[in-house]
């Protein structure tokens, strides 16, 4: 007998085949797709995000859980078209110019999706102009930027400055992260928030938009 806690557990364990199978079984039992997402798929990934935050699991395990969540989501997405299920907000996500690192950024993206946001990942080596274009086009509420090198960190600031000089700074919240980035640095360059890991990024994003956790 399929149940939601079992589905969450399969996602947590990174069992993507089982997660897809259970999702289908729950659907066949007539369960609401939104409930399956919130209390099954996303819950499993978020549990793992919390473990990761506490150094109790490792990167591949988070990636496996995200894959399992997606295996279920892929079955449910077509059913959500036309319903009033809406993401919390749109987040444009990318790694700054001259920086090619993406695994941390990808994990943040997966976790934010798990947290209920729509995430538009614009990739690596993204110029301030490209970030601004995507924010505008997607009407994003948050711009989330990553930098893994001390040499590329200054592009976080450059992008914030570019938002300012184009009159866009007040329209979007800026969230920053990456190994060398600190809370202090984020404040100094005028970002709205900093998160040290993927799970914390969800809390921070919600806080910035005034969404209760």
């Amino acid at each position: 007998m399929a149940d939601l806690s079992n589905l969450a557990r399969m996602v947590e364990k990174g069992k993507h085949l089982e997660a897809a199978k259970l999702t289908k079984e729950l659907l066949d039992q007539g369960m609401d797709p939104n409930q399956i997402i919130l209390e099954g798929l996303q819950k499993g990934l978020l549990t793992l995000g919390e473990l990761f935050k506490r150094n109790e699991c490792f990167i591949p395990e988070v990636l496996l859980a995200a894959r399992a969540m997606h295996a279920g989501m892929d079955l449910l997405r077509p059913l959500l078209v036309g319903t009033d299920a809406k993401p919390l907000a749109t987040i444009v996500l990318g790694t700054v110019k001259d920086d090619l690192h993406d695994i941390g950024k990808n994990m943040v993206g997966m976790m934010l999706e798990g947290g209920g946001f729509r995430v538009l990942d614009v990739g690596v080596n993204v110029s301030p102009e490209q970030f601004m274009e995507s924010v505008q086009k997607e009407d994003a509420a948050i711009l989330a930027m990553s930098a893994l090198l001390s040499t590329t960190m200054p592009y976080l600031k450059t992008t914030i400055e570019a938002l300012k000089s184009n009159g866009m700074r007040d329209k979007v919240k800026v969230l920053v992260g990456g190994a060398p980035v600190t809370e202090e640095y984020a404040k100094e360059i005028g970002a709205d928030g900093y998160a040290s890991d993927a799970a914390s990024a969800i809390d921070k994003a919600k806080e910035l938009l005034g969404i209760s956790a």
Binding site: G14, N55, C57, F58, I59, P60, E61, L63, L64, R67, K97, D98, D99, L100, D102, I103, N106, N125, L149, S150, T151, T152, P154, A179, P180, T182
Partner: protein
């Protein structure tokens, strides 16, 4: 005391005249500092900093011949946005001063069946070693760097389409991952043995397994897949020369497996990124200092690029006080020095080492 003697004494947990130094400079910093010492751009050549290192006080010289050598050396003529293929069959794209692998030779699992591993006797790999041995070995310790060797070589350069896809295989098909790691371990055992036969002092195995505050993969998975292969490589090196010193490097915090590294024959580790559990220099020295010599530790994420010369001096002092007593320490930043580090901070670090690094170490607790 000659630099070589100083360097080797320290690794063997003896106190030389002063704490030895090995500062590795990135390409643009090398270009910036070279004129100060009278080197023209041409004289720096393809191997960056080979002659500059001794001039800034380094006690050892590094020759890099592993898969990462492509990342820093043979890029002279590649323009930004252009691609090139190296001897491993990896296609790199030059982007923003770095090389991004855009085609990996083992992207599909069946590629492994027909893959031609590079030749560990390729004479091009030994040109620099032979030159440096002749010119410097009387006075300086010579390190051959095989980075990156096993897990890092797989996830960055070789296996599957991306780091994520490779990480999935760790769980989906560990037998296949084992075969990839076997291929790498066999190649590097042979390459390292050939380098050791040139008479070098230290063989450096580099394999980034540390993240900012923890290992990238679980210690149990690392023990199952990587550790036995690492052990095999080290046995091959010790067969070639029982006296060879094995240096293991990872970026990030990899302290969870220090005991395992000791077990497979590692006696010297770097670069002690001061994050996670490794931020506690004193604790690390106390726990592992009788079995491991350390190299590195000075923060390159915040302090060197953004700190003041005075802050740099203070931190160098702190590192020496924790790591240097009794020997077993080589001073170095926790990574290469990149172009965002002001020249005054490079000088502050070198001067602080001169001021505080004389044995016996006499630095009072702050």
């Amino acid at each position: 005391m000659k630099p070589r003697e100083r360097f080797l004494m320290a690794i063997k947990h003896e106190e030389p005249d002063r704490v030895p130094q090995l500062i590795r400079l990135g390409r643009w910093v090398t270009e910036r500092l070279s004129p100060i010492f009278g080197f023209s751009k041409e004289e720096q050549g393809a191997y960056m900093g080979e002659d500059l290192g001794p001039r800034i006080g380094n006690d050892a010289i590094v020759c890099q011949i592993g898969i990462n050598a492509t990342m820093e050396t043979s890029v002279g003529n590649v323009a930004d946005g252009e691609t090139f293929t190296n001897e491993w069959g990896i296609v790199f794209k030059r982007l923003g001063g770095h090389n991004k692998p855009v085609k990996r030779p083992l992207a599909k699992k069946e590629d492994l069946d027909t893959y031609q591993w590079p030749d560990p006797k390729d004479p091009r790999k030994f040109v620099q070693i032979e030159r440096v041995m002749k010119k410097y070995h009387d006075d300086y310790a010579i390190i051959v760097d095989l980075s990156s060797c096993l897990l890092e070589a797989s996830y960055i350069h070789m296996a599957r389409g991306s780091m994520e896809e490779f990480f999935f295989e760790l769980y989906d098909d560990p037998d296949w991952v084992g075969k990839v790691l076997d291929g790498l371990a066999n190649y590097y055992s042979a390459l390292g043995t050939n380098a050791i036969n040139e008479g070098v002092d230290v063989i450096r195995i580099g394999d980034d397994i540390g993240g900012q505050n923890n290992l990238l993969i679980s210690p149990s998975l690392w023990r199952q897949l990587v550790k036995p292969r690492l052990g095999r490589m080290i046995q091959a090196f010790k067969r070639a020369n029982p006296e060879i010193i094995v240096l293991y490097h990872s970026c990030g915090d990899f302290s969870l497996v220090f005991d395992d590294l000791i077990e497979v024959g590692v006696e010297f580790i770097s670069t002690m990124q001061p994050t996670g559990a490794q931020a506690d220099y004193g604790g690390i020295k106390k726990r592992y200092g009788d079995k491991l010599a350390f190299k590195g530790g000075l923060c390159t994420q915040q302090l060197l690029p953004n700190g003041t010369p005075l802050q740099v001096r203070e931190e160098v002092k702190k590192l020496i006080r924790a790591y240097a007593p009794g020997g077993g320490y080589v001073f170095m930043p926790a990574h290469m020095v990149y172009e965002d580090v002001p020249t005054e901070n490079i000088w502050a670090m070198i001067e602080a080492l001169k001021d505080y690094g004389k044995y016996p170490i006499k630095i009072c607790q702050a």
